[in-house]
Amino acid sequence: MLCDQLSSRERWDALIRGDSLDRVPCLQFMLGHTAVVNGKPIAKAYDDAATSLSCQRNAMELYGHDGLVMHGWANSGGAEFGGEIEFPYRKYTGAPMMKRNPVQSEADAWALKVPEDFLSVGTIPVALEFSRLQNELGMPVTIQVGSPLTWAGSVCGEERLMLWIMKKPELVHHVLGIITDFILKKAEYWVKTFGAERLMAFDLCIETNKLYSPKQFETFAFPYLREIHDQLTAAGVAIFLTHICGEQNKNLPFWSQLSYGKRGMISVGKEVALSAASAAFPDCVIMGNVDPVIVQEGSPEDVLALCKASIEEGKVHPGGYALMTGCEVPPQAPPVNVGQMVPACREFGRY
């Protein structure tokens, strides 16, 4: 058994400061899975702040991860603008889903407004409570800030949004502007309440090149991401954590132009090579990119082999590297598989 020189807390702090590390850290984005290993319904990771936080902290300790504890999901935004959301209580459900998008027609889209009582809409109350608890415990306070285009899919319905991108670009820009205003208003409140230096802003972004062209990314995703990142950096937000989901190789030149505060942390999927991420983000921490499907369906040996490959490719990155799955840990992944990751860091990730 190889021993660690740093505690998880020390390793996280060193990673953020850019200090030297004893070994590659292991960070995980997992919500549903933490509920499962705690014997709770998956939905509790999403709709109940206190349970979600305690499930995540317990699982982090169980596996020896060095982070992440956060509240959010890709398909968000729709509930905040009046849509109907379902939390994953039913069989086979693994994450919240939209049951009805708030925007169903062009008229709805033109009428879209930032809600007056923005603190009480959708899942904001749970997110705020989650942040309060993080703050009380002295943890980084997380806030989901994007991406606007991903949120627009949740607000309008993805297919409708894509048709409008082709046929009504001005309508799409209108929606994206409102969503961006909403996110900035929410962020302003978080900054005021918790202090910018305590915040870790995160984006979950599904605008992959399986869906959108790099040109569409440049036109409909990039300007709004830039506005948010610039404003929050100017407000003093120190850490940005951006999950670039799926196949986004052609979008990397845009992602690399954003500001990421004092410390950017970039998580990539299995479709983006860690060497490519390293080249695009020399100063950011990069995280990834173990295939989540293998973490669920493969053997422990398969997972260990993938971890080894990721560690060897990522470890040399000058900005810092942390082992992570390429997307959320599947809720039903066997714990023995998830449990391969920290030992892999100890065995293959020593500095």
């Binding site: 398909n75 994953p88 039913r90 069989k91 086979y92 459900t93 693994g94 889903m97 939209m98 993805e158 297919e159 894509m162 048709l163 991108i165 082709m166 046929k167 090149n209 399986k210 869906l211 959108y212 062209s213 569409q216 989540p292 499907v293 669920q296 369906e297 599947p330 809720p331 039903q332």
Partner: protein, 215 residues
């Protein structure tokens, strides 16, 4: 009078350009010229969509472009399809299909493309949408006497639903062939779990469907 080759070319071009008006016009011209509507669909509209599918696979076009192409395709179909039943070739009525994304899964972009390709191939498709429970599939298949049931799942959490459903469907729907698809699935899993067919993309889904129904 327009020659058939020109009309076919205009039909597929209209689909590729995502131009609904042009598709409507070309379809009307096909009718005016007395063309076999099934040929106009397959060699005109569907050929254009197949080309778009190929460009998508090669990373030369993206889903928003596929969406507008599919709108143009449906505009043309609305005119040509009703005429096929009365046509000499009688190629329509390849069968009745039911399609849906399984319980827990709201990914439906790919499923909708599959549905479209099945429709242009001459199947009557009943779409149950997304997040569809097992019993809803069974009820619908019985109600419409489905020849083919198509299940879509995009996540590791939901392919498990397909695995669970298959033995039940086999027992309760003996006359219905089952085809599955979605990114995490493959031919090996389809065989292992006892599905009759698997398709990697929409084009292949249509080919496999026809094979299953004719075989």
């Amino acid at each position: 009078m327009l020659d058939e080759a020109t009309i076919l070319e205009r039909l597929s071009r209209a689909v590729m350009d995502g131009d609904e008006d042009a598709a409507t016009q070309a379809a009307n011209d096909a009718v005016g010229a007395g063309m076999d509507p099934q040929r106009a669909i397959m060699e005109g509209l569907a050929a254009g969509m197949a080309e778009m599918g190929r460009l998508y696979e090669e990373g030369e076009c993206y889903v928003p472009e596929l969406m507008v192409s599919s709108e143009a395709l449906y505009a043309g179909l609305a005119i040509l399809r009703p005429l096929v039943v009365q046509s000499a070739s009688g190629a329509i009525d390849r069968g009745v299909a039911v399609i849906g994304a399984v319980q827990g899964d709201i990914h439906d972009i790919g499923k909708n493309l599959v549905k479209m390709m099945l429709e242009v191939s001459g199947l009557a498709v009943h779409d149950l949408g997304r997040d569809v429970e097992m019993d809803a599939f069974i009820d619908e298949c019985m109600k419409v006497k489905a020849d083919l049931l198509c299940l879509s799942a995009l996540m590791t959490t939901t392919i498990i639903a397909i695995k669970d459903y298959l033995p039940v469907f086999k027992a309760k729907l003996p006359g219905t062939k089952i085809m599955i698809g979605g990114a995490p699935l493959n031919q090996r899993l389809a065989d292992e779990w006892g599905a009759d067919g698997y398709g990697e993309n929409a084009m292949e889904a249509a080919r496999v469907a026809i094979r299953l129904l004719e075989g």
